[in-house]
Amino acid sequence: MPLEAEDVEALRLQRLLSRVLVVPVSLVVGALARLHFKYRLDENIDALRAEIWAKLDGHDGPVIWAANHLTLIDSFLVYWAVFPASRLLEERRIPWSTPEYTNYYRLGGPVQSALIRGLLYLCRCIPFLRGGEDAASDSWRQKAFDKCAWILRAGGAVFVYPEAGRSRSGWLEPRRPKDFLGKLALEVPGAKFLCVYLRADRQIATTSYPPKGDRLRVVADLIDGALPGETNPRDVSQRLFDRLAAMQQEWWRGSRMARNCAGNDVVDLKGALLRENFSEDLSEADPSWLGRHLTERELAYLARQGPAGLFRTFWRFFCAKEACHKALGRAVIVVPNGAFREIEVDLFRRKALHLPTGLQLDIRFTDDDEDKLHCVAVLRGGYIGDETAEGDVLWTVAGVPPAASPGAFVRELALDFIASANDEIGSAAKLALIEDGGLPGVLWRGAAQDWSLSLSHSGRFAAASFMIS
């Protein structure tokens, strides 16, 4: 939809004013990053900039900046990392941003709010509204889209987060692409995507800003926007997300943090000790005991299941929390023993939230029958899978032989299972278990593997899971 003349005039004025102040504003951004937040860029940043700018110089057309999103200051950090001071006079290359209106435009009292709005105006921001399903919100989004398209048609650059918000798991999930950037690329066929994956070394969760003093490592690439013949926005977006996901893998190869973070838990529903806080017919439970495990929201959900669903629903909550506890532990987020209420599970949406950090995990019940429950949880590293698509987590659940020690049995089970899942390994004898910071791990060819092995046993059952991404 074409913009109205007054909108075009307004954009032209904003571009003119921001051009005047681009040098001081850019220098302030760099100074704040270095001096206030004490961030450092990766040692190879000059080489990366040279490579990216060689590609940009070879493309005399519009550019859509697309980056992963974890903190509220990502736009500034990506700009600081990718845009060298020597290029500041190439104003067409300076990207327009699309910050969320409710996050930035109504901060503080009238004076503070006016100052922030002024700064955002000079930083070439087009306020975006992600929430709201009403006609006014739709119209706002359409206008923002049209402004972005107008800037791109004029040969400019816009910066849009493909995920449409900060990732709640700290992981860019390529299987859930959003269509906005695909639509934009189809609207302006000559545009290319400047893909950027930027993350601080110790950035685990979604936060306001990366940990102070951290090193920021960046992976970037310039790729095609819409390809000839492409008409479906989802196809274009999927290609973009796949590239960003590949860059994410590259970033994690250079990280000291574990990339794969998953956990599992099995519950033997016939275990006598699981019943002792319930009435004999399992239709009621000790409220104080429930209250030690479940949050207010979970208790409300439990109440809605009625007496017949009480026992099973409680243990589904428990099983999911234990699986999440292990997945979080892999990311060095220790949930203290017994702090069950730190993790809030949404059984309907199949999500769990670690309340102190705000990290969101996916959960999946792989076994849910009269005898047992088995749940896997994934924080990052791959896809959990569902009824229609295989995920990156493999699992096995088995009965513990009567005379066997469950702890020893589950370890053997895990190694046999991993060996059977990989032709190259073939035999469990080639693997060994290790304990690292209280978590199990696997050695193969003498090296620890980032497979996020998780072990669990309960009563008659033992279960193991690991990630293959």
């Binding site: 503080g108 306001s208 000790d286 005991w289 004898a429």
Partner: protein
Amino acid sequence: MAFMRKQAVVEAIDLNTITPEDAERRITAGVKKYATNEANYAAADANTPYLGHIVGMGIESSNLADITMSIERQFLTRMTAKIGAGEGSADFKLAPGELGKLRILDGQDALAATPGLSVKMLMDLGHMPKNDAYLEKVMSFAYVMATGDGWKTADALKKMAAKAEKLAGAERVEALANLNSLVARAKDYDALLADAAKLAASKSAAYRHDKDGYDALNSELGLTVDKIKGASAGGDAALLAKLRGEEAEIRTRLKMSAAKLRVSQEVAEAAGRRRAIESAKVAEVRAALQAAVSSAAKLS
């Protein structure tokens, strides 16, 4: 309501009338039915972990809340008067009052990983008099964790060596590569345990993570407060209500984050303090690690 637990009725006793050793015995007896490692349970003392199978009682995580509730059922305390934690907060603290049922509030049991640490928790919370002579015999939470990891490493090495010994050909070669790596890890861990300062430094990494998380959450709160100011000025009632809900949620998360931070801070600090009891326990696990290393070295 007739709970299955009704068979386990016990007569509660005033914590101020018994010795720490009596309290410890009652606590240990109270968890007997949850212990799946009978041998370790039979030999349990103040420093035997509730969880874990190698040196622990083998209690499963599904019974963690039962441990705390078992302690609550067994004792009476004078810390029963509820005092509000602050205006607008539903939280409360316990202060001296009439003799009544013991209550262990959310998060207070985070470090109570052994019967001795459970008694320490009761002392720290003012439910029973502090007894320094008893506490001298109680290993800190940090060392329960650190020695636990050592036992697990030694056990993994012993099992791997036993497995590798029976193999031949290419499988043996691969197994020995793993064994060598395990030996190196066991040696590293032995060296870490030998040096309290190094151990403290390793534990402080978790503390730094938690501190980063706490600081980040604090800044989210500041931002939400700013958004509320903005929404108040704009007179948008619906947005204001939504933001106030967000603020309440962040404050709850902040409280949990602060509790978590206290645990990791305690662990980081305690890892650097080594008393006789910790030295003795460290010596035991180091001996096990060294024995496992030396028997594995014969194979490679």
